[in-house]
Amino acid sequence: MAMESTPAGAATAIELRVAARTEVADGVVTLTLQHPRGKRLPDWAPGAHVDLTLPCGLTRQYSLCGNRWDAYTYRVGVLREADSRGGSAFIHDELTEGARVALGGPRNNFALVPSPRYVFIAGGIGITPLLPMIAQAEMVGADWRLLYGGRCRASMAFLDELHAYGDKVTVAPQDEDGLLDLSAWLPAPRQDTKVYCCGPGPLLDAVERRCADWPAGLLRTERFLAKDQTPVRSEAFEVELRRSGVSLTVPPDQSVLQAMNTAGVHVLSSCRQGLCGTCETTVLAGEPDHRDSILDDEERAHGDCLFPCVSRSCTDRLVLDL
């Protein structure tokens, strides 16, 4: 216990426990995630997502849709994808309460920026990042409305929570109301109105077409691209510290930072949650498994640096400029 607050002891990569798994609509479950020992989870803001590495080895991204005033719990909503590549099927069919998942992030490419007015447009499971945004818009007293579409009412998650917002929320199941009436919801752009949209590709395409001539920054969307990333490894990997001439093995239960410390190579760090950026280290060879909250997609793709307090390796071997 005392060790955990001891500054020199680096944290291991964070693993979360599935504290609850709840069916909330047809084909949608929510997972409640907590630290196995009840510790605080890394801070996040609306629009953030996490990478979850499932026991089957797949890594998938999910928007956080809980309440960040509860620092001990994450909630994500997971749709069973019709053409699932395994991640959502695994969560629906096999993941049980008590199971462990590894955490990357949270990262935020879809931050809620300050505005007096918001229009939120959600399609299906795209409602998840918008839920905490709506809560926040309500909290700061912004003028907001939500248009929420889905295949049919039974497939649309969180209707009970949204009901509390009254007529600020328009629920438009396709089998009752047809396609979303974007022309009514997105008339001419207004500087005082930010539009946030998340949902399936065709909805995002339609919204982007509709807003193509708008000034930049008024429409903000999030699109989860199914990326064929190298699967992360749960086994140990080698790290070579080229300048120090040291090679070491990072076992699954240690962070790179911790393994380096054990080997007597100290890298300055601070938050040890992949947030502050202090331990940034140059990667000379190998492919990092980024689990920080700092790099954007482009920076991750470069693969030229990593944050050893949380990030790991996709390849057998990483070579660092240390």
């Binding site: 500054p7 680096a10 931050a111």
Partner: protein, 402 residues
């Protein structure tokens, strides 16, 4: 003072952490507070204090329970009018804190600073060559002040004129987090003028087209923050970006002047410059204290802190807590200072820490290449500030490397 303390044994003391005696040497008081308990009542101000690493770290990271928007000084903004519009970063809570923080984190992030690195290293060499023309000099003014004042305002994009206002403005700001004592009163006659100058520099028209300031305004154009927020975010750079680094640099120079074997180690291993700076920040803690305000009744280490109560966190004491650090009073490059709270911790952790480290790395690297040995030429003098562990003078004698 009524409170809902369940714990009648809560230790209490009438010590004044802002008295001249304590500001001159805070270490004995810090040790006494740490020993007294995890939470201590400061009867003179009717507030709670924590001086142990575990509690300070917990309060810094738990923004849900310990808010900043009621002010991070003694003054409680719920009841008292702040002396200037509150900071959008330091004196704000989520959700309002999110956007300004996200914008500034990116602008001051390590990746964004790469473009400054070569220039700042060259600037440091030039300054050090100039200063080393003498064997004895005041490192507080000629290095610790000169270097940040040379590189940082340029990086922000400030005009040359009026930069002499930056240090006194920061000095007043950091004094104003404490009680309205002599230090605050002495600064008060100048504050309107200093504030007016600072506010004026935050306007877009007064900032260079490239630089941190312009980048903040560009973020407003993208809608990531509002145009009303932009000048206040620029103000944060001018408020927190100068005095803190000045006294951090002075701290590391003082550390080396008094630990010659550590200087030899840095000369052998110049790659330790960043570690050295953070170890000095831990050891001296240029920012000594910040306050938080309880958002709800919080039970902390057996003490009930009632909603709305002020809590004083002794960062400097936490950084020397023997419960967390081995031989905490020793300045030692062998130590891993990671995890110190000299830059704070959590969502409000110093957004400029990478800037400070780069400045330190540049200055120390230039010195390590040129100076074989440095020592105190005279007894250095402290500068008293309610928040900062600061220096008035740091007279050094140096022996140049052959």
């Amino acid at each position: 003072m009524t409170s809902t303390l369940p714990n009648r044994q809560l230790p209490s003391t009438d010590v004044d952490p802002f008295s001249p005696e304590v500001l001159e040497d805070p270490l004995p008081m810090q040790a006494a507070l740490r020993e007294a308990g995890p939470v201590v009542r400061l009867s003179r101000y009717g507030i709670y204090a924590m001086a142990r690493y575990e509690q300070v770290h917990a309060a810094l990271t738990d923004w849900q329970s310990f808010q900043s928007a009621a002010g991070v000084g003694l003054s409680n903004f719920r009841y008292e009018q702040p002396w200037r519009p509150p900071s959008l970063l330091l004196e704000a809570d989520p959700p309002h804190h999110d956007a300004p923080r996200a914008v500034l984190s990116k602008i001051l992030g390590p990746r964004a600073l790469r473009t400054l690195r070569a220039d700042w290293f060259a600037d440091a060499e030039q300054l050090v060559d100039q200063v080393l023309a003498e064997h004895e000099f005041d490192a507080a003014t000629q290095l610790a002040e000169s270097f940040p004042l040379r590189v940082f305002p340029d990086a922000v994009g400030l005009p040359r004129q009026g930069r002499e206002n930056l240090l006194p403005y920061g000095d007043f700001l950091f004094n104003a987090f404490g009680p309205a004592n002599d230090l605050v009163e002495r600064g008060r006659p100048h504050v309107a003028e200093l504030s007016a100058w600072v506010d004026e520099q935050c306007r877009r028209a007064n900032l260079e087209a490239t630089g941190f300031g312009a980048a903040i305004w560009a973020a407003a154009d993208r809608g990531d923050i509002t145009h009303e927020q932009a000048p206040l975010v620029v103000r944060s750079l001018l408020s927190a970006g100068v005095d803190t680094t000045v006294h951090g640099l002075a701290a590391v120079l003082y550390a080396f002047a008094t630990h010659p074997e550590q200087w030899q180690r840095l000369r052998r291993e110049p790659g330790l410059a960043r570690v050295a700076f953070d170890e000095a920040v831990r050891w001296q803690s240029p920012v000594q204290t910040f306050f938080r305000t309880a958002t709800t009744d919080v039970d902390l280490a057996g003490t009930r802190i009632a909603e709305g109560e002020k809590v004083l966190m002794f960062l400097g004491a936490a950084n020397r807590d023997p419960r967390a650090w081995h031989d905490p009073d020793v300045f030692d490059l062998s130590r891993d200072p990671s995890g110190h709270v000299g830059f704070g911790m959590g969502i409000h952790q110093c957004v400029g820490q990478h800037v400070a480290r780069l400045e330190a790395e540049a200055l120390l690297t230039a010195l390590a290449h040129r100076v074989e040995h440095l020592e105190l030429a005279q007894q250095p003098r402290r500068h008293h500030n309610n928040t900062l562990r600061a220096w008035h003078s740091l007279p050094l004698r140096v022996h140049r490397a052959p």
